[in-house]
């Protein structure tokens, strides 16, 4: 059954009333004022997708430059900007925002809610992300992009070695982005805490939502370290502070500690929601629930905790005391266990179920192969002596592409093929999807597998060229060829998306027979998501007649229909027992105004224009005030 009958019944009963309450203005005005989690989620995904294209093209330029020894396609100065922006964009402007986009769209649907807990904060987060991304990517067009590498080690990135505005773009851009990421994370946490459908106790939360929860929890603790690092560097650069200046009592390793205290958790911040996508897809195409759900949840949570205890393995070559090295080596080995649990949980699910290989599952199988390889080389980097031999070589470049392309891009592509029908109401072509998969899978491995060899042959990362006679040129040429295949493969998916948007077959409610609540809505969902808030009786609401039945059963229950204003249901934190109705805010332009305020502050600091900074501060403070100004009616509202 691909149309959910109960949903249709409920919609006929109460759909019109709800639509009146929930519809937003369209057109240009609606563009600037929307607070709908689905529109914002889609926006996140499209914008992050554009950054992926930009970073991908940067990579193609680099691969072309490296195709042979001593080529002169780009200058070293440009090459250094390219790899800095490639890394920064992929990590900060693509992976996390793309997965936040999935989260924005899917979390409320999966937990049976009508929106996020803070819809305006959600819109604000998007605008801030977009402005940070535009500042950072835009800088490349003016040749003023940062060129200190994505982790920007001091003192190279201090004013005296990297003059110009590029590094300031990095510091301020990431600070701005940090605001967006933190806002998004807090929103996810509160949403899941208070907005779950009745009956969704914590042991019935879908695994994708768990991934988003753990990631958000990590963001709350990890991003401050990055923010502090960047703020201190900016103070050093612009105001002659000496945080990182060893001549004046500062210390250069302080940067590295703070950076990796954020940076390593960030790997899991990126990967955990992506693994959540995998956990959502595997049961659907294995026709059985995931094996060992509690273990998978526990391993995600454990990863989130241990992830904060491994940062020094990025610093094994800096000359730290032996004892601390041994500790961080042990922690880095231990953290592979939770990932192993998840891998074997999926494998056992596949092995015990009935495997149906449609495109989303194809990407997941590709993910399993690639990600396991990345994990295995990851274990090697916990082995300190081996790490010190291959650290900062192409072996490392190979490793983290297997982890991040494997652990994030493959699941994201799987997610796009899986949920495209839900997002847009149209289905992607399976045939093009298979072509795209094989081209990407082969292209990826031809590009990155030889990098292991190059690393062992002594090729350091971040070199814009290399000497002939080192045995590197052949491998590099092969990689460049692979990169072009990869590009073609990804373009096929892009074409597939554009084509399906126009003329793809209409998507049914539940095209794949998925188990979670997003499939109970229409494709695409109505503005109010659920005409009647379902009551959840199991971990697999869609495979469980009882849960679905509540949607048509409760059409006369006011606290399930919630049509007295723009309402959602507040349920208890752990057990999901209904408490009272919440009123959610209407569409508004205030989040955009606030984001513009922050953008002005950033630009003012960047170009040292005091007036602009002050204007930005005033706009921000004013925006905050109008946002929080209490409504006179004593409704149970939220700040």
């Amino acid at each position: 059954m691909t149309t959910v009958g109960e949903r249709v019944v409920a919609e006929q009963a109460v759909g019109d009333r709800l639509e009146q309450i929930w519809s937003e203005s369209g057109g240009l005005r609606g563009w600037f004022t929307t607070v709908d989690h689905k529109k914002i989620g889609r926006r996140y995904m499209v914008t992050a997708g554009l950054f992926f294209v930009a970073a991908g093209l940067e990579a193609m330029l680099m691969r072309t430059q490296l195709a042979g020894a001593q080529l002169d396609v780009v200058s070293p100065q440009l090459y250094n900007q390219l790899f800095t922006m490639h890394g920064t964009t992929m990590i900060f402007l693509f992976s996390t925002p793309m997965l936040f986009g999935f989260g924005n769209y899917l979390v409320p649907l999966m937990i049976g809610a009508r929106d996020m807990a803070f819809p305006r904060l959600n819109a604000f987060g998007y605008w801030v992300f977009a402005s940070a991304g535009i500042i950072m990517t835009g800088s490349l067009l003016f040749g003023a992009a940062p060129s200190g590498g994505w982790f920007s080690y001091v003192p190279l990135t201090e004013e005296q070695y990297l003059t110009g505005v590029g590094m300031d773009v990095y510091c301020l851009g990431l600070l701005l982005l940090g605001v967006s990421t933190t806002a998004g994370a807090i929103n996810f946490l509160v949403t899941v805490l208070v907005m779950r459908a009745p009956g969704m106790s914590i042991n019935r939360i879908p695994l994708f939502v768990w991934g988003v929860i753990v990631t958000s929890g990590m963001v709350v603790f990890a991003v401050p370290a990055l923010n502090v690092d960047n703020a201190l560097l900016f103070l050093d650069r612009r105001f002659d502070f000496h945080w990182f200046d060893p001549e004046q009592g500062g210390d250069v390793l302080l940067w590295q500690h703070l950076f990796w205290l954020f940076g390593h958790p960030d790997v899991y911040i990126i990967v955990l929601p992506a693994l959540g996508i995998v956990s959502a897809i595997v049961p659907t195409f294995s026709r059985r629930p995931v094996v060992a759900y509690p273990l998978v949840v526990l391993s995600a949570v454990t990863t989130g905790v241990i992830g904060f205890g491994v940062w020094v393995h990025h610093m094994f070559a800096v000359g730290l005391p032996q004892l601390s090295l041994s500790f961080f080596s042990a922690a880095s080995l231990i953290i592979t266990i939770p990932s192993g649990i998840q891998i074997f949980a999926w494998l056992m699910t596949i092995l015990l179920g009935r495997l149906v290989v449609r495109t989303p599952m194809l990407w997941v199988l590709g993910f399993l192969i690639v990600f396991v390889m990345g994990g295995l080389t990851g274990v090697m980097f916990a082995v300190i002596p081996f790490d010190r031999q291959t650290h900062d070589s192409y072996f490392l470049v190979a490793h983290f592409h297997y982890v991040l392309f494997g652990g994030a891009v493959f699941p994201i592509l799987a997610g796009i093929y899986y949920w495209f029908g839900k997002f847009t109401g149209r289905m992607l072509s399976e045939r093009l999807g298979r072509w795209s998969f094989w081209l990407v899978f082969i292209g990826f491995n031809v590009t990155f597998l030889p990098m292991h060899v190059l690393g062992l042959l002594g090729m350091p990362r971040r070199v814009y060229t290399y000497q002939p006679g080192l045995g590197w040129a052949g491998w590099n040429l092969l990689e460049t060829a692979g990169a072009w295949v990869l590009l073609v493969g990804l373009s096929v998916t892009l074409f597939n998306i554009v084509r399906a948007r126009r003329s793809g077959p209409l998507a049914p409610d539940n095209p794949w027979g998925g188990e979670t609540l997003e499939w109970a809505t229409s494709s695409p969902p109505q503005d109010y998501n659920f005409p009647v808030v379902p009551t959840v009786y199991s971990l697999h609401p869609m495979w469980d007649e009882r849960t679905l039945a509540t949607m048509s059963r409760d059409i006369a229950e006011p606290d399930r229909v919630l049509d007295d204003g723009k309402q959602a249901l507040r349920t208890s934190d752990l057990d999901g027992v209904p408490e009272h109705a919440l009123t959610l805010p209407e569409e508004t332009v205030v989040p955009l105004v606030l984001a513009v305020g922050l953008l002005l502050v950033t630009l003012g600091l960047l170009f040292s224009i005091v007036v602009v900074t002050v204007l930005g501060v005033l706009l921000t403070v004013g925006g905050l005030a109008s946002w929080h100004w209490p409504r006179r009616a004593p409704a149970p509202a939220d700040a």
Binding site: I186, L193, N227, G250, R570, P636
Partner: protein, 208 residues
């Protein structure tokens, strides 16, 4: 049908009787808690950076010709900021009982104490700047970054409290609608608590 009757209807359902947990906090309260957690992590990172520099510095602390921080003003600041939380609790409890006068009186006193804190901090900064500045050395950078960042929090708190008082004065905060007071008070108390840690780290511990 109004929200009130919806709530009543919900309260009369059998499922409401089976409820075992007390009613949860507001979403906005949780949002503020999480914001404060991430903000505390920020201060933790700053203080960790400070102590890191202190431990890798082999000479005496504070380094260079900078003398040990004098405590008098800092004690006064600590007293002012911790003291300012008391009238705020009074105000918060007042509006819970529906007393707008208590809210306004307590809130105004808190704002005044907050402003007094900022004034003493300004005096402290001018005095320190005669001895050293953020550009003198890493200690100077750390001292002014951390205390300055905290000062910004106090400024934000004073603004937020004034905003709440304005809303209260225009009758927008009532007995049944005062979550904003709760949430802003939570922020203010936390900023006070952070100051105690900063005082202990930058002033008291520097004496050791």
């Amino acid at each position: 049908m109004t929200a009130a009757t919806t709530a009543t209807a919900a309260a009369m359902r059998p499922s409401a009787l089976r409820r075992e947990v007390p009613a949860g906090r507001r979403a906005g309260w949780w949002g503020m808690v999480l914001f404060l957690v991430t903000d505390l992590a920020l201060f933790a990172a700053l203080l960790a950076a400070y102590f890191y520099l202190r431990f890798v510095t082999s000479e005496q602390w504070p380094p260079g010709d900078i003398s040990e921080p004098k405590l008098l003003k800092a004690w006064i600041m600590t007293g002012l900021l911790l003291g300012s939380s008391v009238p705020l609790v009074f105000a918060d409890l007042g509006i819970k009982k529906g007393s707008r006068a208590r809210l306004l009186a307590g809130g105004i006193l808190t704002v005044l104490l907050g402003l007094a804190f900022l004034y003493v901090q300004y005096r402290e900064f001018t005095e320190k700047l005669r001895e050293f500045s953020p550009s003198t050395n890493a200690y100077g950078s750390a001292f002014f970054t951390i205390t300055g960042f905290h000062g910004l929090h106090v400024i934000a708190g004073v603004l937020a409290l004034s905003f709440v008082l304005l809303a209260a004065a225009t009758g927008r905060i009532t007995r049944s609608h005062h979550a904003l007071v709760r949430i802003v008070a939570l922020y203010w108390h936390t900023v006070g608590a952070v100051w105690v840690v900063i005082f202990a780290s930058l002033y008291l511990a520097a004496q050791l």
